[in-house]
Amino acid sequence: MTGDGLVGRHVGFVRALREAGLPVSPAEGLDAARALALIDLSERESLRAAYAATLVKRPAHRPGFDMLFDLWFPPVTSALTAAREAGAEEAEPPRPPTGGATGYGLPEHREQLARLLMGDEAAGSMAEFARAMVERYGRQPAAAGRQNWFSYSVLRALSPETLMARILAEALAGRERGGLAERMVRRRVTDNIRRFEEAVAADVRRRIAEDSGVERIARSAVRPPLEQVDFLRITRADLARLRREVYPLARRLATRLVIKHRHGHRGRLDFRRTVRASLGTGGVPLTTHNRPRRPHKPELVILSDTSDSVSSFAHFTLLLTYALREQFSKVRAFGFVDTIDEITRFFVPGADLVEAMTRLTQEADMVRFGRTNYGHAFERFAEKYADAIGPKTSLLILGDARSNYQPPALDTLTALAGRARHAYWLNPEPRPQWDTGDSEATAYGAVVPMYECRNVTQLTAFIEELA
């Protein structure tokens, strides 16, 4: 191990990871330190890989890790770049400095960006170009002697999206438009635009960190890992990743409900076989025979709130429904806003999820006036679909219990829950907000056990508790 500087940086980095919610044990920290002694520290990607291998044990933690790594171990520092550029200019004056204000202007920059977006390997490195562009366009003067850095001003100046038409024309070069080739080019360019935006954002963060300290920016920039992201504040990108997390959870939820069922039953006495066997012992039934246990068939009924106030949660519950549908033979799903409709038909196994979502919003009859009304939804459910709930049914209600001050129809819910084998309510709101405003959480919670379910961690905990 060399010097205090490296050890200090290592310790600070590990502490920042812990603050960002990554569970790094002291033993893992030591492993990382041992790894540092073995690799070539001047190879930045090796260093990143070494830290990742020893400290990051879940894919969900990787984005946060990468962001912190870029802050703690920046690819360049401004002081170093300035020194290097000064040296380069002395050595070979004709070369235009990439960050310079004169000569080399916006059209040239856009030209180079277009080549980078096309994946032209000769056009140089994306990261380097992003750094130069932040230097050129991202600076905004602030209070005396200070400056602010913004990524949107870089992206506005270069506006990578508007380059698409040009790139397409160039890349397809006479081939027919609208076909497979165009789609592939489009996809590649879109991916590269995203990479460019990320590179710009990373460099802006680095510059801010240089001005105001790594710890401060780290705390504000890193999003919590996926399993701790609030369902109500989830972004589209998170949802896509969540989809992959939900499948194993649904499978576990399914097995948990099955196991609970399995323990409850023993085979009944098989009278015929017992009497037959008793003939050998002169009619005395010395050994009894039981009927083989019936194969258990758990049934699941899901009622989910699909209103706008919980739209991202609703999206998640539909995801969960979809995943459960693949696991359970008998799942019936119902969606409601102020009236209720069966939505099982949209989730046939093997159906395409994205398509199911679109059809669901267009075709299902869940909205009357558009304001959530739990009471009415429950009453309509009891009227129309009462047969869905039987003694083998597990009832799962997903929603925030905010009913716009309408009558809650507690009796109906009590009757429904009474007929089901188990009933659970998952509420995406934080517990302190229950019962505020129009929330009926406690009233409903007294009938059906209510669980706070704000993120994947809590959902996992709920599933664990079922066993």
Partner: protein
């Protein structure tokens, strides 16, 4: 302790020599697993080369590969060791006149021990790569069994005593992440999250695995597969399927990826009807 690799770039060269093309993360993790003597847990979707990585490490270092395939219901007797009780019974019957002590001392010896993969890897005198495949398929109890072996590289057999590895094996665990492995197990391992390769790397993989394919076709193929992976599919095409696709195109004598070619051969990479329908719709085939 044996040295497995000298540096990450050494890993890259030697794995490339056995036709496995690692990226930076793979090369560094493999190097560290060897240098720190820790097991390497490779997690990722099916068909990104997790098992292949272990095989490549064995081939590149000339080590013996011992494989333990995990499945539901795997137990100590299948993973670690078992006494050959049939042979023991024979031995007891054969030595009819002996005293109990003699027999007892004799039937619990090497001769009656059935080695299973874990014990075989520990006792091997030559360098060994131990591949514990699909760890997530095994029951949670098996993870407990692995903990002692993976942290100290030793096991205790009551009749024989503690057996410590003469040569530390290079351990690779793989997992498809169908369930979360326990924290205790993850803590003892180096973690490598394998994802689908970049189009550039996939092109190189195709070129090295499919001799006779033209470079530009491989490039188009890799981009096409990357596009397919970008769709929301139930099962994204694996690297192995990309290679199958390359072989198919070669066998059919197609040298360009056109709409017709893709539509004809989509079944090689997409194996769900709904995935195929989706790809046809999104790509306008």
């Amino acid at each position: 302790m044996t040295t497995w690799f000298a540096s990450p770039s050494d890993v890259r060269e030697r794995l490339a020599a056995v036709h496995y093309l690692p990226d930076d993360a793979i090369a560094t993790s493999v190097f560290l697993a060897g240098a720190l003597g820790k097991p390497l847990l490779a997690e990722g979707p099916a068909g990104v080369g997790k098992t292949q990585l272990a095989k490549a490490v064995a081939a590149a270092t000339g080590a013996r590969l011992v494989r333990l395939q995990c499945y539901e219901g795997l137990d100590e007797a299948r993973a670690l060791y078992e006494w050959n009780y049939k042979k023991q019974l024979l031995r007891i019957q054969a030595g009819a006149g002996e005293s109990w002590d003699e027999t007892h001392d004799d039937i619990f010896t090497e001769e009656f021990l059935l080695e299973r993969p874990l014990l075989r890897a520990l006792r091997s005198a030559e360098p060994t790569v131990l591949l514990i495949d699909e760890t997530d398929k095994a029951d949670v109890e098996v993870e407990g069994l692995l903990l002692e072996i993976l942290s100290d590289f030793q096991i205790t057999i009551p009749e024989l005593g503690t057996i410590t590895a003469a040569v530390r094996p290079f351990v690779v665990l793989t997992s498809n992440a169908t369930r979360e492995l326990s924290e205790a197990l993850k803590r003892r391992c180096l973690y490598l999250n394998l994802v689908y390769p970049t189009p550039e790397r996939e092109r190189d993989i195709v070129l090295s695995q499919v001799p006779g394919i033209r470079a530009d076709l491989a490039e188009q193929l890799a981009r096409m597969v990357a596009t397919l992976r970008g769709l929301e599919l139930k099962k994204s095409p694996s690297i192995a399927e990309t290679i199958d696709w390359a072989n198919t195109l070669l066998a059919l004598g197609r040298d360009d990826i056109s709409e017709a070619t893709v539509a004809d051969t989509l079944g090689v990479v997409l194996k769900h009807a709904s995935d195929q329908a989706r790809a046809r719709k999104e790509l306008g085939l």
